[in-house]
């Protein structure tokens, strides 16, 4: 549904990265990890289309949910100026979420940049499993939610592109290294295309369950306009499914990158 939701908290987490908490009993109760909301950043024409943003976590008791976004262009810039008690026009929760792990499984999440947010929700909702987070950031000053990830993971491994914190290099590096030693039951990944592509390929090669949360430019956000195409296998052929409705989460082995 489309609704004007009240902002109950906003917080700058790092330069250009903001957390927003919205009041919504419905979303707080019904959203599952991997789902997103579609936001009208302003009335009027300046950011005409809605912007899809993942749900970071919900608080069913308070009837609130959070999302975190990075200022990229016009829409997110406008969003970043909103304040407590302002309203945001949201549609959601939308899309299909992750397959939750089952008790006792070994879960690895691999996230890069803004891709870490849906993974947080997944970790928070995955109980009685052993959880490792591989998180890649640009640099030390762009690291966000480290404490939160540590709270919901058994281990958090951080990499930075420039080596200013944690392991220097891409997040695939420690992921591969660890794979030498142990094998997770489920891998979940979200982030930049090259990253998710190599994680997916590694997992497929080794027969590890892997789900990928995809990004694509959207129109309607609900499956009606068919713009948010995602190339997937279809027998010997391929077809385009749609990130907003069939995804954003897809099994790695279905994707054609």
């Amino acid at each position: 549904m489309s609704n004007h939701l009240k902002i109950v908290e906003t917080k700058m987490l790092a330069e250009k990265i903001f957390l927003v908490r919205l009041k919504s009993e419905t979303i707080a109760k019904s959203a599952v990890p991997g789902q997103f909301i579609n936001i009208k950043c302003c009335d009027g024409l300046d950011a005409f289309l809605r912007r899809p943003i993942s749900i970071l976590r919900t608080d069913p008791y308070e009837g609130t949910f959070d999302f975190v976004f990075m200022v990229k262009g016009k829409g997110t810039d406008i969003l970043s100026r909103l304040k407590c008690d302002d309203f945001i026009d949201c549609m959601g929760p939308l899309g299909k979420g992750f397959t939750l792990p089952v008790k006792g499984e070994k879960v690895w999440v691999v996230g890069g940049g803004i891709g870490i947010f849906p993974l947080f929700f997944l970790l928070e909702r995955s109980t009685d499993v052993q959880k490792t987070s591989f998180l890649g950031f640009r640099a030390k000053d762009s690291i966000v939610l480290q404490n939160e990830f540590e709270r919901v993971s058994d281990k958090v491994i951080i990499t930075t592109d420039d080596g200013s914190y944690g392991i220097h290099g891409l997040v695939t590096k420690p992921f591969l290294e660890r794979l030498e030693r142990e094998k997770p039951d489920k891998v979940y990944t979200c982030g930049p295309m090259p990253m998710i592509k190599s994680i997916a390929e590694i997992c497929i090669e080794r027969g590890i369950f892997c789900e990928v949360s995809m990004e694509q430019r959207m129109g309607c956000g609900i499956g009606a306009c068919l713009v948010c195409a995602c190339k997937v296998k279809h027998g010997d052929d391929f077809e385009y499914e749609h990130v907003c409705k069939d995804g954003p989460v897809f099994p790695a082995e279905r994707l054609i990158f």
């Binding site: 489309s2 289309l49 430019r217 959207m218 129109g219 956000g221 499956g223 713009v227 948010c228």
Partner: protein, 301 residues
């Protein structure tokens, strides 16, 4: 006050129709509002065989508009008849089958098939800018429109709407060709061909390079074309292009459109179709119009 319109044999309970390609087959938006409130639904452009469509990105945002390059992804006319019509038929709203093809024969085959299906009208899409061959080629010349429409007319047992492209020098020629060939109605405008470039990556935003422009940005062009066409043919006109609210819709009705379609605006406001319908009602009340036709005749020039 009567909101219903009668368009060459097609009776609509109100003049608000969902535009082809923006509304799928109605399923998605049925969760957002009661489809019974719609005058009609023009379904996603159909082809004879299923089509995959173009690679993504398929959409770009532009000032007050969007570019799309979906490229007619659809399950094909047979799947439509089998799986989609039964769903839409549960609602009291007209079903308009939007048809695209690569050849005159293919148009005819499809129209023959659809003539026996449980739909209310056929909209010939001779104006899709996002597929490599056919389609737009027919719509870009009066000759092409005449040719396709005449052939289709012979096999068409439903009210026949021809959807015109705005990417032409003289839209009235195209409308006249459709009229001469026996179309019952013309609908316009399809999208304006456009392009957007990402200056950081130095690539076109759309994988297909160009795409079709829709949304508020195109409204003045659409209103002008509807006005010109309404003044040059006798068959009814369905107007569209950038309608975001009832005021926009009324501009088209004053310009001479007997009914209107709304597409892009629904992406932003899933309730737009209902709001447009209710706003037209209010306007009629406030201005003493008893029928949509009275609005069509009210423009003072």
């Amino acid at each position: 006050m009567d909101l219903s319109v009668n368009i060459a044999g097609l009776r609509l309970k109100n003049p608000v129709i969902a535009a082809s390609g923006t509304f799928g087959f109605g399923r998605e938006y049925s969760e957002y509002f009661d489809l019974n409130k719609l005058g009609g639904i023009s379904v996603k452009g159909l082809t004879l065989e299923p089509r995959k469509g173009n690679p993504p990105p398929r959409i770009a945002e532009t000032p007050a508009g969007i570019l799309n390059s979906v490229g007619l992804q659809n399950p094909g006319v047979h799947a439509f008849i089998e799986h989609e019509i039964p769903f839409i038929r549960k609602y009291d709203t007209a079903i308009i089958a939007n048809v695209a093809a690569n050849s005159v024969e293919e148009y005819c085959t499809m129209v023959e098939i659809l003539s026996d299906a449980d739909i209310d009208a056929i909209e010939l899409n001779v104006s899709c800018p996002n597929v490599k061959q056919g389609c737009l080629l027919f719509g870009s010349t009066a000759q092409g429109i005449l040719q396709v429409t005449s052939a289709v007319r012979k096999v068409c047992k439903k009210p026949l709407i021809v959807k015109l492209t705005p990417n032409v020098t003289d839209i009235t020629e195209m409308a006249k060709a459709a009229e001469d060939a026996g179309a019952d109605c013309v609908s316009l405008i399809n999208t304006l061909l456009g392009m957007a470039i990402d200056i950081d990556s130095k690539k076109p935003v759309l994988a297909n390079i160009t795409g079709g422009l829709s949304g508020p940005a195109v409204k003045p062009v659409a209103v002008r074309m509807v006005y010109q066409v309404a003044n040059s043919v006798k068959i009814p006109v369905i107007g569209m292009g950038g309608i975001c609210n009832a005021d926009d819709a009324i501009e088209f009705l004053l310009a001479g459109a007997q009914a209107i379609m709304v597409g892009t605006a629904g992406f932003v406001n899933p309730n737009v179709w209902v709001e447009v319908k209710e706003g037209i009602e209010l306007y009629m009340e406030n201005h003493g119009f008893r029928s949509v036709q009275e609005i069509n005749e009210a423009l003072i020039v």
